[in-house]
Symmetry: C2
Subunit: 335 residues, 2 copies
Amino acid sequence: MTTLSLPRLEALICEALVASNVSPANSTSVARALTAAEADGQKGHGLSRVPSYSAQARSGKVDGHAKPDARQGRPGGIVVDARHGFSYPAIDIANDMLPPLARANGIAAAAITRSHHFGVAAHPCERLAAHGLVALAFANTPSAMSPWGGRRPLFGTNPIAFAAPCRGRPPVVVDLALSEVARGRIMTAAQQKKPIPLGWALDTNGQPTTDAEAALKGTLLPSGGSKGAALALMVEVLAAALTGSNFAFEATSFFEAEGAPPSVGQLLLVIDPGAFAGNTSLPDRVAQLAHAIEQDAGARVPGKRRFNLRAQAEAQGVDIDAALIADVQGIAAGR
Amino acid sequence: MTTLSLPRLEALICEALVASNVSPANSTSVARALTAAEADGQKGHGLSRVPSYSAQARSGKVDGHAKPDARQGRPGGIVVDARHGFSYPAIDIANDMLPPLARANGIAAAAITRSHHFGVAAHPCERLAAHGLVALAFANTPSAMSPWGGRRPLFGTNPIAFAAPCRGRPPVVVDLALSEVARGRIMTAAQQKKPIPLGWALDTNGQPTTDAEAALKGTLLPSGGSKGAALALMVEVLAAALTGSNFAFEATSFFEAEGAPPSVGQLLLVIDPGAFAGNTSLPDRVAQLAHAIEQDAGARVPGKRRFNLRAQAEAQGVDIDAALIADVQGIAAGR
């Protein structure tokens, strides 16, 4: 393992992307997002993505020079066409446009279409919570999970994220994939040639498996059984049908360089609590809820772990696999 | 068991409520909602609620004569004060006001505050989907479930519901409580003196239990472990903090006649797909998704079962426990 400071990590990612036919502006946006993922300990959405992102930019599966096109249709609704580029530049635009719309209308939404891997779903929500707003995010991903009782992987792992401001402390953050575990954890196990626990996935024959490679070819199991599968369906409708994007079962891989763009979708919902919470202060009330949770021995406020890791990463940098760094340095050097 | 037609059932409920100090208009609204629950096979939200609803209206814990007060603050946001009455008259108003607001703004929301038991969370969503809109509902309930790792029941079972129009067929409907099972199923087991499976609940000592009475005093287990608990926290923020209502741990029972009003909250979000889905038709796309699910042997489209039950109930009536009918008839007769 090698320790890299966050600025050095971000610069390295940016260089690798610029060397892979990604515009400087888009490279900066992507590098910032992947670095933020590493800082939060979300390695599945961090530096490990650079080799596949770069390969997709070189093959043209992702348009590294895409300029997202944002249009406001109704007073509370914007559509951001990511134009088969990376998601992050489109998310950045949505994040900039949404706060004033949410304040004016009470609630606003951004539909991101023709998009790619969403990264850490909590991050755009957190940025909106920093404006005093409550935010929800829904994203679909390439197919990984069956409907309940079925065997075909029709749904993605389909993250749901949420953030709300909390007086005197970081926002309360929820961020979860609807599979029992994130696909990234099985990817990591496969890369490390390690087995996975039973209950994470089925193989292509619909049988429980501990083989990470077999699990990646098969289907992930939903969290909470039929309930996780039902929520995954809901996310397909919100993130794909509503945004005019591909369903999971129509989308190509976020990892392979060949094929059509995945063209998945994301939906960001933003609410101004001032329009709804009457005379009470939502950040005060959320702080009361967080306090009540902390009074319960053994319980913790969701999102707290990531803020602790982030503070540590900002102070001390992050530990990264040396082989991965060498790989990304090679991409940056055009090898 | 006795078979009652839906109109007879609705009339019986209405009579019992009117005899229990509930206004005719509110009685009609409540009776319609409870009857619709029975038609869908959701007995925990149906006739079985009448004795406790009536007792609360008689004691004044629920104001049977409350007229909900709806105010539009921002262009996309309304606040409906249920004024410590039943939730259904407030939901009816929100359902009437939301469609034009969602069309004008692209998205709209109704915060229902000082409310009571939400009933079948899917029903308001379905009514909005009948307008071609996509709807989400979040409701908190009195405390029943611990934060992950904790023992104090800080969260409610906190239903999430969703409906979206589907071309040529009923809407796709998701409706789930975030506990492993709905509290109503444990109530039913307790009434019938039956045991419950392990994995549904913990007793007051934090130990797994098969005793329904012990489970009702203890805490329900969340669906999907930490993920269900995190979503329950999200619902507390959306349904209670955002609406200016009580958190689960501040709310009194939906069943007992004594005490302050529960004063919980509900949030309805409504999206006009025409503002976001570009050139694609959301109902067409949802129908494609439903078709893909049905091609997967063993899988089914969520919500389908309830529509089958409803059609059967409309044609043949519903089977109801004769003792419960006698009980409600007694209430209607003022005994």
